[in-house]
Symmetry: D2
Subunit: 345 residues, 4 copies
């Protein structure tokens, strides 16, 4: 950590800062330049709280040198983490192809969609039973009945399933039905929820918040890791910007940035990022070419009747064509896509 003092500090100010650093059990190194005095701090930076030092009178700027996350960092764990769910590997060269409807609406519809995406090569089935909707008057999901349907569809088609958990009180319930938890963008900093899923041993797909930096996303992953659950998959799904031709702005740079900082797999979700089916194939290809460890795509057999996010869903046949492209791209990138075991269709 480096502390920059305001111009022309009095000896008292310098002395006070040095004493405060020593009181924290750290060693200060003073350098007095012509224009500025700076103090390097050596020791266990993790113990240190950046902000209190900034509150000391005479301090202009505190520059942290170490990253604020540890378990999520590549410095802590050099190799790519590979997560395996019912034979489907994610990370380290293996792509997760997650597909399914936004919300689970009925057993018949989900079975139809599951059949379609399985045949196209998806290896994880998604579907929402608890839906975070901007409006209290929108469809909020089928709840436990939805979970039951999702499990049944996963079992029928031999696919691991993933579904969103929004409330710490639902973690136990959802865990009984699902193979992976999804924590949505709006809950990326719902720290109680992060701790709760961190206490389970079920892998967690953690979506980036709309105003979260990649570092913020890794700090939220750290909450889960710190509770003992080491199976976290990151997900880029678009950030909020001024551009209004897409629902959000897909920040694909987040993929190589996260892979440089962290060993955790990171996938991309062009459905939520763009909100427009016309753009999804281009952005899904781009995600794989950028090195992402998988793609999350919403598929619905009748988007115009979907109860949630219909307009951003691909039809099963559009998804099948896209999967053709993605398979070729994955091969070119030297990546593999595990086929999920179980009943073949």
């Amino acid at each position: 950590m480096i502390i920059v003092l305001k111009p022309h500090p009095t000896p008292d100010v310098v002395q006070h800062v040095l004493e405060r650093i020593e009181a924290l059990g750290l060693t200060p190194h003073l350098s007095q330049g012509v224009a500025r005095t700076i103090i390097g701090v050596i020791g266990d930076e993790e113990k240190l709280q950046v902000q209190p030092l900034q509150a000391i009178p005479g301090v202009e700027q505190v520059v942290p040198i170490l990253k604020p996350f540890k378990l999520a960092s590549r410095e802590f764990h050099a190799e790519d983490t590979v997560i395996e769910v019912k034979g489907v590997r994610i990370g380290g060269g293996h792509l997760a192809m997650i597909a399914g409807p936004c919300a689970i609406e009925s057993e018949a519809i989900l079975m139809e969609i599951a059949a379609g995406v399985k045949a196209a090569g998806a290896n994880i089935l998604r579907g929402g039973a608890f839906k975070p909707r901007t409006s209290p008057y929108s469809f909020q999901g089928l709840g436990e009945e939805g979970l039951r349907i999702l499990r049944a569809a996963g079992d029928t088609y031999g696919m691991p399933v993933i579904t969103e958990v929004m409330d710490p009180r639902q973690v136990d319930l959802v865990e009984r039905y699902t193979d992976l938890f999804q924590v949505g963008a709006r809950n990326m900093q719902n720290f109680d929820l992060l701790k709760e899923v961190g206490r389970t041993r079920t892998p967690v797909l953690l979506k980036r918040g709309m105003s979260a930096t990649v570092k913020d996303l890794l700090m939220s992953a750290e909450y889960i890791l710190a509770e003992g659950n080491r199976e976290v998959i990151l997900c880029e799904r678009g950030i909020r910007t001024f551009e209004d031709s897409t629902r959000n702005t897909m920040d694909l740079s987040a993929v190589p940035v996260a892979q440089g900082l962290s060993h955790l797999p990171i996938i991309a979700d062009p459905s939520h990022a763009t909100g427009k089916p016309d753009l999804i194939p281009a952005m899904a290809r781009a995600a794989v070419a950028a090195g992402s460890d998988g793609v999350h795509i919403e598929v619905h057999s009748c988007p115009e009747k979907a109860l949630s996010d219909g307009p951003q869903a691909l039809l099963p046949e559009q998804y099948a064509r896209l999967m053709e492209d993605l398979r070729q791209l994955a091969e070119l990138m030297g990546k593999s896509i595990d086929v999920c075991e179980g009943v073949s269709v």
Copy 2:
């Protein structure tokens, strides 16, 4: 609602859209122009889900005309809502002056701060017992012990108290100690938490999320109102932008925008918005001049030792000077600041 079709629609496409609208029990009005065909939809727009119509092939754009919130809207409730907490009124010309430390650290420190802010004219005491911290390794708050201390300080100084609730499981516990709930920016779209506080009859201060528009904020207020709790106070606390000289960008326009759209009171929080004590007085004055229904300011007797957000706290004497300015401004604006009843200091 207005539906704009893509250029040169076939009669089949037009027919299909008309049928879908009628199937929803609504009445379509077709206008065929030279360059575009548009369909106006009349009926109970609330029942309608915007998005499915957008998913119909041939539809270019769906333009909603009515606002998606109802109970929060000024059209539904023309007069300003005035919320009263232990004799302190908020809204309708009455300003909430909320002050206190970011986190409750000990009874001695909180009592000292409470004495200071009460003397300066604050009429609500704040303090966090459960803290949403970006890092799992930062101080997370004293929990119930913090709530007990807060209640004691409020009772000692005759001030209503406010504290943050982060987890739906804590709502009952927190309600036993507090006069107002605070729902923080990171939880603005934690819909289960919103529903839970909506089921109580304790007023809720709802902070705007860092990537939420004013309309999103009102939609989240609608969640609370729809559960039956009509006492919601909005709070502008800065949005996330590219500007890095402040912690967030304080969007003071949100104050008159929200007051135009809604009857709910809206206050401003220059502490979190700027993150810098040097900027707080200017922005607190600006907030009152913009018409906000109160100001939320963090005050600490020793910012450099604070366990959370010390660098953005004012000293009690700085707060007292600022309150002088704010009182004069309030008077100029024709607003009043209720003095909280109880033990005077």
Copy 3:
């Protein structure tokens, strides 16, 4: 255009709006619903200025239906525009591979870099002679001497060249030396410059401004097209957001969005978008996979001694490896990369 009136308009207000529309030579269509009155406007929307209607008392919202650009739109010109510069085609399945240093520093260095990028497969050579630098104290470019060097390098290696023009007074001078103009992000709305390059017949690479939407970019292209120069190439180079791990946020969705709205080619610039050489290969691959019509990459033989933007430049050998990947990707996408004619190296 659709005009939405405020709730409960008086007959006078409705009448006044109808008269104003008719005074503009347009035909209004009135629909009075339960909650809102809307007026559809049919006629030559281009003549209409959106904003004055919004200023009429009683008008809540004016919703334009037609796009504000015409010559740039795909509705006006359905086929992809293909631009050819000295045998190198850009657009319509042909990729521009633009490479070279940020600034031209000396003939020796530029020749060395040109040799490297030509050998790697670049088909257009870039280099800046007039540099837009944030600081007046930074290197501002070699001016005309730089242009001369660039021309010499292009001629030596048989490559068309591109360089930035910043000042309308320099357009004639720059045109004498270059094959394509570049208009930089900071000048995307320098309308006098746009008009000036629009009066030439030299193709223009128009970079997206840091706070410009795709539609704004197309409006700026319209300025050039409206002056008679139909050879405009768009360029996505990152927008400004809160994310600080990259210099800007590369918005690759802009590629399919622009291709849907416009017939003009669009390329991507991962060097300026990311500002970090580690991220450039991933984002260049992503750009090609997203369908972009080319990639613009800064290459320098000694980045640590570059006078401008050194840290974001690839070494020639890194660029050569990347071009291998891009060639394979282009082939997979069914695209071709023209080899520039002239002296082979």
Copy 4:
């Protein structure tokens, strides 16, 4: 300047960085900690170019300590700069009240508006003769005829006048008619234009770009100052964010931030920031309360017929009411508003 090396640097890497720093005539100070090696650099930091050091292999981060602007900084010039134009002072406790139409449309209309704003207490008259319009098909201004009308109105009402200059070729022409130049948001980084107005001795109102930080704004001011023109007035006019209920997001924190970093006056423009007349009075009051050195407001006698930006203009009578409020606020803040000399109305 502080250079942070990547973890575990080899001695060769460290040696290479030290040599590069010494080659620049600067003195490195090496500190090797457990987790990171850092190198402090002392000497004339201004000579140093941050970026090349970042390009050296093994360097993780370069942290500049000094601000990149000098002439604009308060460290260089401690007292507030006060600019005086025909008896009207701006800065140092004196407020500029700039008002007038967006575009000059005719002599009759401008005279009518000038009479209104003069009577209300405005002390500088604005009007655009060259208009930067997003669309090439919108009204582009009356050009020199507009300048002549503006001068005539200023002379008639004894008010100094301000108008926008967009093209370096127009600087001489515009200077013949105006008392202050305005450089608009879109041209904040049009460096050739900044240099050209920097060579005159006419004061310049420099508006913040939509994606510019306060530091970027000060760097652009530095361009003007470095050419010898010391009379620069900054202007906050809103930045581009995701919030869509206002045209831009007014960042009033920029006022105290700029006043802390710089001695230059800074005013605020709620007309362009909000784009909505309903919001202008609240935001103008907030600007004065935040300490801004003036307010720039668009006023039109018939907004619904204005050829440019009509919907954001106040009527003269609305402006007069607002000026009443602003005068009282200014008095409360201990500020004065000079009355412009000349013919009284």
